[in-house]
Each structure stands twice: as structure tokens, then as C-alpha cells.
């Protein structure tokens, strides 16, 4: 019984470190538990809507690439967003010329298998986070997330 109590005291000590009163620093309400297990899969966002002239060429090519190649050759890209999504977003956010340069640079980084965990934050369990906004050359868009930080919430 004494051992039990000691164990309990140790447990409480540990809990008091983990669960400080910070829980109650904001008023909270009843919250139902979620039995379901969150999915780790990154769902492909197929989208053929045409919003600009560039989309007429770009979107069918990108979507076809996703459907016939990217979704079939397995998850080869260590990064989130994947290289094809990176190319697509880069071109959308800048222009075809700059977007292509950004893609070549990304592809080089993709090939480099060293120093990844000391360079990039994590996105989920299996990917590194390497967003487009870091490379558009607009300094105001750059937000530093320290390497090793988990960007996507894992339950």
C-alpha cells in the first residue's frame, strides 16, 4: 500500500508538471471526445476549374501528371507540398518563368538526402515542410519555422 501511495505521489508530481493550471487560463465548455483516428493521408486536390488563361494549359497538365504518374509511382517526395504541387503553386503565385526556376531549385533540394532534419520542420510523420512562400523572393512572406518543429497537428 505504501509503495502504491509512493507511485501515486510520483504520478501526481509528473502530472503537475504536464498539466499545470494553464488548461484553465481560458474558460472552456463541454467537449465531446472524438473516437475516430485522424487520417495521415494527404488527399490530392484535383481541380480543373479555369480561373486564368494560364490555367487552360497548366491545370490539365498538372492534373494528368497527378493522375497518371504521381498517384501511381508511390509517395516519392520527401516534402510537403510535393514537387508537382510546389511547381503549380509557384507558377500561380509568381509567373511561369520564376515558378520554373523555383521548381528546379526545389528539385535540387529534393535530390539532396542529407541534413534534412536539421533544415526543415516536419509535416506529419513522413514529410518535411518546404512551403512556396519561402522562395518567392518576397521577404515579408518568409516565416521562419525552426527545423524539427511539427507543423501539422498529430493527434
Amino acid at each position: 500500500m505504501i509503495i502504491n501511495k509512493l507511485k501515486l505521489l510520483l504520478l501526481i508530481f509528473l502530472f503537475s508538471i504536464i498539466a499545470h493550471s494553464q488548461t484553465d487560463w481560458v474558460r472552456w465548455e463541454k467537449s465531446d471526445p472524438d473516437y475516430k483516428i485522424p487520417s495521415e493521408t494527404i488527399k490530392r486536390q484535383y481541380d480543373l476549374s479555369i480561373q486564368s488563361i494560364g490555367d487552360v494549359v497548366l491545370k490539365p497538365v498538372i492534373n494528368a501528371y497527378w493522375f497518371f504518374i504521381s498517384d501511381v509511382d508511390g509517395d516519392n517526395c520527401p516534402f510537403y507540398p510535393s514537387c508537382s504541387s510546389f511547381l503549380f503553386t509557384s507558377i500561380k503565385q509568381t509567373n511561369i518563368f520564376q515558378g520554373t526556376l523555383m521548381f528546379f531549385d526545389r528539385f535540387t533540394r529534393d535530390t539532396n538526402i542529407f541534413e534534412r532534419s536539421s533544415h526543415y520542420p516536419f509535416y506529419g510523420k513522413h514529410h518535411f515542410y518546404d512551403p512556396v512562400y519561402l522562395y518567392t523572393l518576397d521577404e515579408d512572406l518568409i516565416k521562419i519555422i525552426p527545423a524539427g518543429t511539427q507543423v501539422k497537428k498529430i493527434k
Binding site: K5, L8, L11, I12, F15, S16, I18, A19, T23, D24, R27, W28, E29, K30, S31, D32, P33, D34, Y35, K36, I37, S39, T41, F67, F68, D71, V72, D73, G74, D75, N76
Partner: protein, 279 residues
Amino acid sequence: MISVNRKIFVILIVLSGYCSAQNSLKDQFDFAKSLFDQEKYFDAITEFKRLLFFDKENLYGFDANLMIGLSYKAGAKYNDALKYFSLSEMHTKNDEQFFNASILSARTNILRRTTLQSEKILNSLLANSKYDNRKKEIKYWLGWNYIFSNQWEEASEIFSEENLDTTLADICKSVVDDLYNENFAKYSSYIFPGFGQFYTGEYLNGLISLGWNVLFGYLTINSFAEERVFDGIMIANFLWLRFYGGNTRNAEKFAKEKNLIVTNNALDWLQYNFKGSKP
């Protein structure tokens, strides 16, 4: 005569004073409990804490801590809930109270998905001869623990024992039947590209995968046959192997995804449609 009367009166007054002190604690407990019943959990915790603060003799050490734990549990704040269930365990006055607090700890751990801890708690209760007459209840929660640790087969078995809960046993059994074999999906695709995809119902993907593998396999062999070794190595390495490896990884991924859908459907049903006790 008068002096005897006086003594009795003094005793009565003292007793009534003591009782009134107890009564005020009881009133405070009832007040806090009423907030709990109205689902005002944050305020309920304040009032239970107030009770504990003024309850110098720890008369409510068990009940108030347990209620605080339950309040946190209702707010899905499981770490805090567990802390207070442990505190209530420290103030138990009998085996029954200890049992209740332990079961609540186990149920909270189940919800927190720290199922190894809940399993440990439940197994230690099961091993305790004091709780021999509560074995059914303990096993019931062990079954839920298996559900939350994704061990549906074990869950199905334990719920079937002595007809513990036939509804839950059936649900778990149907999950076991519906689950895809992840290894089979993967290794069948090693032998026949696209097979694992067909097995998991991803026919189109399987077909495209098969197509690429046949094409690049053919081109590789053809290159070597025509003694174009460099081309052969390039096609094999950058194209065939890429699609062959991707094919096996995809087959396994599809099986895992489909299994997640199966288990999540079951968990969703259990959460919203199952009428019995839940963690």
C-alpha cells in the same frame, strides 16, 4: 438536575455546531454538483476546489476530487482529469471507492489513447481478488481498451466471453472481417504489379500501375537485349523501379487507408449509436 440538563444542552449545541459545519460543506458539495449537472464544468471545478480548500478534515477528499476529474473528462481535458482521479484515489476510504476511481482513470486513458496505461490499470484490478465479483465490468472496459488500441480481434473475443456484450462482440467481429490484409496487399503487388490495388478495390490505379510496369519492363529488357546498357540501366532505375516500388507502396497504403475507413466507421457508430456504457 439543572446541571445535568445544562451539560446535555451544551453537548447538543456543540454537536449541532459540528453538524452545521458539515452541513455547510454538504451544501457546497450539492451546489458544485448542481453546476456539474447543468454541464457548467468550469464553474463546477471552481466550487469543488473551494470545497476542498475549506474542507480541513478532508471529508470530501475523494468525492470532490473525483467530481473535478469528471468535469475535466467532460471537457476532454484528459491530462487534468487523470491528475484528479489520482488525487481521489489517494483519498479513498474503501475498496469500492478505489475501484471506481481506478475504472475512471482507465476509461480516461482509453479516451486519451494511452491504452497501455489503461490496460495496466485494468489488469491490476483483474488480478486483485477483492474485485472478483466485478470481473465482468473490468473485462468490459478491457474490451473497449482493445478497441481503442486497434486490436479488434481481441476485443471481439473478450466481449464474446460469457456473452459479456453481444452487440459489441458483433461489431468487433464485423470489423475484423472487413479489414484488408495489409501485408497481402503489399506482397501480392510485388509478385503481380497492381494486384494489391485490385484487392483493395482501386482498379483504375491498379490498371495504370500495371500498364507502366509492363511498358518500362519491356523497354528495359529491350534495351539490354539490344545491348544499349546505359539506356537499360537508366530506364530500369529511373522509370521501372520507380513505378514498381511505387506500386507496392501504393498497395500497402490503400489497404491502410481502407482499414482506417473501416475502423473509423465502427468507431463512429460506437460513439453515436451504441447505447451501452462508453469510456
